[in-house]
C-alpha cells in the first residue's frame, strides 16, 4: 500500500490581483520506504505542495483534489480535523527550521509542552529521545539550553528530532539543507536517510532546488515546473537519462567534477517561469523550451511511459504514443 496518494491536487494563493495557481493538478504517490525528491526552481510549487499536506492556511486556498494517507483520506482543507494527523501521522521539517523554536523557552520545555498536548509525558519518551539525539549527534545538554545558545545547524537538528519524535508515517522536509554549509549538509542528508532506515518514518518527501542532494539520498525524483509536474522517475534514470527538456537543462546546468569550465560554458536556462496568475495555455515550459513545437500549444498530460514508473508531461516524448 502506498503511504501517500495524491490525486489532481490544486492549491491556489489568494492575492488582491487574483488567484495564483501555484499548484495546478498534482497526481502522484509515494510508496512505503520511499524517499521522494521534489525538485524545481523557486516558485514552481514544490513548497506549496509540501506545506499544503500539513498546514493549509490562508493565503493558501484548497481548490480541488484528493489526498490519501495510508489509505485513509487526509482532510487537508479542514484545519481542525488535520490536527489529529499532524505530528503523529504527517510531519514537517519547515524551511525556517532555525527560527522554529520559541526563543524564550528551554528546549526541554518545548518538547514537554508539545508532547503533553498529545497526552504524552516527556519522561515516557526520554530514553527514545536520548537515543535520537545521539543519532543526530546532539549532546544531551542541549535540552537544558535556550535556542539562542545553539548554532543554526544544531537548531535544525533539534527540529528534525522533534518533528519525527512520534514516528509519523510521512515526513516532509522543506529545504532543510539550503541554509547550511556543505559538510553539515552532508550530515543532515545522511540523517534523513537514517530516519527512513531506522523506520522512524515510513516515507519521506524531500523538497529542494538542489538536485545534487537528491542524487545522494532520493529513490525517486519528481521535477516540477510552474505548478505542474514535468517528470518523475527513479533517481538513477532521471540523472542519467532525463527525458523532459526542462529536466535535461536542469541536469546539464549542474557543474560536474572534473570538467573544466574554461572549455565548456556552464549553461543556465535563459528566461524565467511564467506568471502563475494567468498561466499560459498549453505546456508551461513552452516559452523557454528549445525544442518546442506546434503541439505544445496544447497541455501535455502526465503519462506513465513504462513499467519502471517513469512519467513525463511532454509532447516530444509522448506525442507519438497517442
Amino acid at each position: 500500500m502506498n503511504i501517500l496518494e495524491v490525486r489532481d491536487l490544486r492549491v491556489y494563493y489568494q492575492t488582491i490581483k487574483g488567484e495564483v495557481k501555484a499548484l495546478d493538478g498534482a497526481t502522484f504517490s509515494v510508496a512505503e520506504g520511499e524517499i521522494m525528491g521534489l525538485a524545481g526552481e523557486s516558485g514552481c510549487g514544490k513548497s506549496t505542495l509540501g506545506r499544503s499536506l500539513v498546514l493549509l492556511k490562508p493565503p493558501m486556498k484548497y481548490v480541488d483534489g484528493k489526498v490519501f494517507l495510508e489509505g485513509e483520506p487526509l482532510p487537508i482543507w479542514d484545519r481542525e480535523k488535520m490536527n489529529a494527523f499532524r505530528f503523529a501521522k504527517v510531519s514537517l521539517i519547515p524551511q525556517y527550521a532555525m527560527n522554529a523554536l520559541n526563543p524564550t523557552k528551554k528546549i526541554k520545555r518545548i518538547f514537554a509542552d508539545i508532547l503533553a498536548s498529545r497526552g504524552i509525558r516527556l519522561k515516557q519518551v526520554l530514553s527514545e529521545l536520548n537515543w535520537r539525539f545521539e543519532l543526530v549527534e546532539l549532546p544531551l545538554e542541549v535540552l537544558k539550553m535556550y535556542p539562542i545558545e545553539l548554532s543554526g545547524g544544531m537548531k535544525q537538528r533539534v527540529v528534525m528530532v522533534l518533528s519525527t519524535l512520534l514516528n509519523p508515517s510521512l515526513l516532509i522536509a522543506d529545504e532543510v539543507t539550503s541554509a547550511l554549509d556543505v559538510s553539515t549538509q552532508k550530515a543532515v542528508a545522511k540523517m534523513l536517510v537514517e530516519f527512513r532506515d531506522q523506520r522512524f518514518v515510513k516515507a519521506l518527501i524531500v523538497i529542494t532546488h538542489d538536485i545534487s542532494l537528491l542524487y545522494q539520498i532520493a529513490d525517486t525524483i519528481l521535477v516540477m515546473y510552474a505548478g505542474k509536474f514535468a517528470e518523475k522517475g527513479g533517481t538513477e534514470e532521471i540523472i542519467s537519462d532525463p527525458k523532459h527538456p526542462y529536466t535535461r537543462l536542469l541536469i546539464s546546468s549542474l557543474p560536474k567534477i572534473g570538467v573544466r569550465y574554461m572549455e565548456t560554458k556552464l549553461r543556465g536556462i535563459p528566461g524565467h517561469p511564467p506568471s502563475l496568475l494567468e498561466p499560459p495555455g498549453g505546456c508551461r515550459f513552452r516559452e523557454r523550451c528549445p525544442e518546442a513545437f506546434e503541439k505544445c500549444g496544447e497541455e501535455p498530460p502526465f503519462i506513465t511511459l513504462d513499467s519502471t514508473g517513469r512519467q513525463v508531461a511532454c509532447w516530444l516524448i509522448t506525442g507519438n504514443h497517442d
Binding site: 498546514l55 490536527n83 499532524r86 505530528f87 527540529v159 522533534l162
Partner: protein, 329 residues
C-alpha cells in the same frame, strides 16, 4: 546578569547625580535676589524677616565658596534636611512632602498595576475575536489618545457634578479631620475613586492596544507556525505568544514612567487631590523654592525607583537575561 544590573544601576546613579545637581542649581541661578523675593512673598512680621534672612543665608550657605555649597547640599539631602517651606511656613519641607506622598501613591500604584494587568489581558483576548477587535481598537486608541487632564475633568463633570455621585475636590471631606475610623476611610476612598479611575482608563487603553499588536506579531512568528504544523492546540500557541508578548510590555512600562508622572500631576491638579503633583504646582505658583527643590527630588527618586523595580521584574520574567544573553534595554 550582573552586566545587566551593573549597567542599569550606573544609569540610575548617573541620573540621580544629574538630578540632584539640577535641583541644587534651581535657587542659585534665578533672576533677582531669591532671598529677597521669598521674604517679601512670605509677608512676615519685621522680627521674623531678620530671622528668616539669617536662616536663608545660612541655608543657602551663601557665605561659603560655591563648591562647598554644593557638597553641603548633598550632605543635607542625605540627612533628609530639605529646608523649611516658605509657602507653608514653618513646616519643614520633608514633612510637607511626607504628607503628600501617600495620596499620590494611592492613586498611582493601583492605577498602574491594575491597568497593566487588565489592559494586557484584554488586549490578548481581543486579538482572538474579530468582532471584539473591531470595537476594542477604536476605543483603545481613543482612550490612550485622551489627555489625562481632560478625562479627569470629564469624569469629574460627569460623575461628580452632573450625577453627583463623587466629590470633585480634596483628599477627604473638608468637614472631617483625619482619624482612623471607618467613616474616614470610606470618605478617603470616595475621594480617591475618580482620580484613580481617570489614570486607570487612559493607561488601560494604551496597554490593551499594545498587547493586541504584540500578540498578533507573535502569532505570525515562525515558531507559532511551527507549533501549528505540529498540531499544537490553540491554547498552547496562544500561551507561548502571550508569554513572549509580555516582555516588551514590561519594558514599555519603564519607558512610560515619565508620562505617567506627568499624568499624575495634572490629574491631581484637576481634582485638587493633595498629592505631590498638586504640591509641586502650588510650590511653583508660590515660588517656594525649597518646596520645589524637595518635590523635584522626590519625583526623581520615585521615577528612578519605579524604573529599577521594572528592570528587576524583567530580569525575573525573561529567562534569557539571567543567562547573560540579550541585555535588551
Amino acid at each position: 546578569m550582573t552586566r545587566y544590573l551593573v549597567r542599569k544601576v550606573t544609569i540610575y546613579l548617573l541620573t540621580f547625580f544629574l538630578a540632584v545637581t539640577i535641583d541644587w542649581i534651581i535657587p542659585r541661578f534665578m533672576p533677582g535676589n531669591p532671598i529677597q523675593t521669598m521674604l517679601s512673598r512670605a509677608a512676615l512680621r519685621a522680627e521674623a524677616v531678620e530671622v528668616m534672612r539669617g536662616y536663608y543665608l545660612k541655608a543657602f550657605g551663601l557665605d561659603v565658596p560655591v563648591w562647598q555649597q554644593y557638597l553641603n547640599f548633598w550632605k543635607a539631602v542625605f540627612h533628609g534636611d530639605l529646608g523649611v517651606s516658605v509657602y507653608l511656613f514653618p513646616k519643614p519641607v520633608i514633612k510637607v512632602i511626607a504628607e503628600a506622598i501617600p495620596y499620590t501613591l494611592a492613586i498611582l500604584v493601583p492605577a498602574i498595576i491594575l491597568s497593566w494587568i487588565a489592559g494586557n489581558k484584554f488586549g490578548a483576548f481581543a486579538a482572538r475575536r474579530k468582532w471584539l477587535d473591531s470595537t476594542l481598537l477604536p476605543m483603545g486608541y481613543f482612550l490612550t489618545a485622551t489627555p489625562y487632564m481632560w478625562l479627569g475633568i470629564f469624569l469629574a463633570w460627569g460623575f461628580g457634578v452632573a450625577l453627583g455621585w463623587f466629590p470633585i475636590a480634596g483628599g477627604y471631606s473638608f468637614a472631617m479631620t483625619p482619624n482612623l475610623s471607618w467613616k474616614f476611610v470610606l470618605d478617603l476612598l470616595w475621594h480617591w475613586f475618580l482620580p484613580f479611575a481617570s489614570l486607570f482608563l487612559v493607561m488601560f487603553g494604551g496597554w490593551a492596544i499594545g498587547m493586541r499588536n504584540m500578540i498578533i506579531y507573535e502569532l505570525e512568528a515562525d515558531y507559532s507556525q511551527y507549533l501549528e504544523s505540529l498540531g499544537a492546540p490553540r491554547r498552547l500557541i496562544r500561551s507561548y505568544a502571550f508569554r513572549n508578548a509580555i516582555l516588551p510590555q514590561i519594558t514599555g512600562l519603564a519607558l512610560q514612567m515619565g508620562t505617567i508622572a506627568a499624568g499624575a500631576v495634572v490629574t491631581e491638579t484637576v481634582f485638587s487631590y493633595p498629592g505631590i503633583g498638586s504640591l509641586i504646582v502650588q510650590a511653583i505658583q508660590n515660588q517656594d523654592y525649597f518646596l520645589i527643590q524637595g518635590c523635584f527630588l522626590f519625583i526623581i527618586i520615585g521615577v528612578l525607583l519605579a524604573n529599577f523595580i521594572v528592570d528587576i521584574v524583567y530580569l525575573i520574567v525573561d529567562p534569557r537575561t539571567r543567562r547573560g544573553m540579550i541585555g535588551e534595554i
